[in-house]
Symmetry: C2
């Protein structure tokens, strides 16, 4: 492989001069610069990006911290981050933290040591001070960290209102909300949206908790429907939870949407694979990832940000688990907020 | 931040001496070494991993090339690669190639420039020579590249035999195989397994092609069932394709498994979320990723490999889309090959 020494020798200049040309820093005479560029061309020299990293303290890498790539919300997000990063010449280092504080700390330190240029956090359990000390540009995606870290999120509360209003419009009289984990901001916001609507419209309701896993959602829904057989609408905090609720309803012989209507949240491909296909509040998952990455790169390039809080609208996609869409085999109805 | 110069000054030795201690290369006196180690401890100096990269021409990074992380086969695979890599102190750079040759080439060059220690290929469209010239340890996962690159794959053919035999045992008399793209080795192997069984047992059969996307699978299955309404069994080349076939059957009023039995391939979480839940040939997806990563690290560490072809057994998981499992709500039956 051609080294910087070969280039210097060929151009008859010092290694330091080649370095100055490559890094566009310090004085180099016109002749020397031309000789170096010519030598680089003739020898087909490709400067090591590692050497450049060391000099510039940048690496062309972005760290992406997620709880678990096998959770179906994250692959599309990761895809968007990688697409945008790649357009701007960055590569993406994938880190699964399992929501464990020690794993998160370990990854962030490793990323810092590699001169990673920025980090996107979709999971953030450290005290804010630790993020601050790292002194790396950061963006919080989906979950709020601190007012100093820009947040990109869906309009979760407005989306939850859409879902709840749709169930009421379709005639539901006793609605359950299967809420996500407490302390997770998007889950809190969806809960708030649900509560607002059922209180405004004075509808019978019940709220129960389940994490974002299908088996627990199935178990919890089964118990719920056994205790309250008159429940005729469920707003689930995620599509995976909705899929679990559908399995429970199926096991208990409930017909969807005739006996029980269900709305999910997320808009992952799964919803369209289910039979009946799932009515859901679609998050702009790809956009969330893309906007976060552009925002991170803006910070890396030291450009000013217009705002520290980007909220992206969600939309209701009416499919077959609610009555509004059951007659149209393939047509999907959208409402945005 | 503490630099190597601070350490040298504190230990009253030269920067070169500190570097020799850090890199465990060259002669350093016992006293100097102790002084350096003491200074590192007192100043809490963390050597930059980038500086070490430049010296050792390694980066502690592994590249993972996949077609698209949003294809549900890959998240679990990526997760396994990252888990094992992280145990050995490596981070993972994620690259989505979309099966495009230019994207693949661009990524591999970027990875080479970053002194990536090894690469796992699940997609490989370049001529073998280009892989060879990169001179980076590599493992081929799922798809065969060349005899010089170790391959880790499922026993696709044996798995396809299990699926086809199961359909016959459950009484199917006219079986369709929806095969995956030509030239993709796992799809070819599954097709071979299917053909072997239907020829041995002289069963009516038809083979049609579809890529691994749900919409095409649905369309293709609908046309197939319209032309051949007596088809009573489908072996799909992937779970996503099976989900598409189920949607088509549902639209046409076919009862599963009474009128039509369906077996998928992969064992992704989707299969268990469908109603009825999908009988499938389960690949050891996590194991495929984990074994590949260990094999790659063995190569990086210049340890000898026992073999260049690892085939991991698949197993049949009988759920509700075939008659063998319809009566047992939660019990799953396994058969290994």
């Amino acid at each position: 492989m051609t080294t910087i020494r070969d280039v210097a020798k060929h151009a008859k200049v010092s290694v330091a001069t080649v370095s100055r040309v490559l890094n566009k820093k310090g004085y180099v005479s016109k002749e020397a610069e031309e000789a170096v560029l010519q030598a680089i061309k003739e020898l087909n020299y490709q400067p090591s990006s590692v050497a450049r990293s060391l000099y510039h303290k940048t690496s062309g890498m972005i760290g992406l911290l997620i709880p678990d790539i096998s959770n179906p919300f994250f692959p599309e997000l990761a895809r968007a981050v990688e697409d945008v990063a790649s357009t701007y010449g960055y590569t993406v280092v994938l880190c699964n933290t399992d929501e464990e504080i020690e794993k998160e700390r370990k990854y962030l330190q490793a990323l810092k040591q590699k001169y990673v240029d920025g980090v996107i956090l979709t999971t953030s359990f450290l005290p804010y001070k630790e993020y601050e000390q790292l002194n790396i540009p950061m963006v919080a995606l989906d979950r709020y960290v601190n007012e100093n870290i820009p947040l990109v999120a869906s309009q979760n509360k407005a989306g939850a209102r859409l879902a709840t209003e749709h169930l009421l419009e379709q005639g539901c009289q006793f609605i359950a909300h299967i809420r996500g984990p407490k302390g997770v901001t998007p889950a809190e916001d969806r809960y708030e949206g649900f509560k607002e609507v059922v209180e405004e419209q004075e509808v019978a309701n019940i709220v129960i908790s389940a994490d974002f896993h299908i088996d627990e959602a199935q178990k919890v829904t089964k118990a719920l429907l056994e205790t309250h057989p008159t429940i005729d609408g469920i707003f689930a905090s995620s599509d995976v939870v909705a899929a679990g609720a559908m399995k429970a309803a199926h096991m208990m012989g409930k017909r969807i949407p005739d006996d029980l209507q269900i709305v999910g949240f997320d808009g992952i491909p799964l919803g369209n694979m289910l039979v009946p296909s799932l009515t859901t509040v679609e998050q702009p998952i790809y956009d969330l990832g893309a906007v976060s990455t552009r925002l991170l790169i803006k910070q890396i390039e030291k450009k000013p940000l217009d705002t520290y809080r980007y909220e992206i609208p969600t939309k209701l996609v009416v499919r077959e688990t609610t009555k509004g869409g059951e007659n149209s085999e393939n047509a999907e109805h959208y409402r945005c907020r």
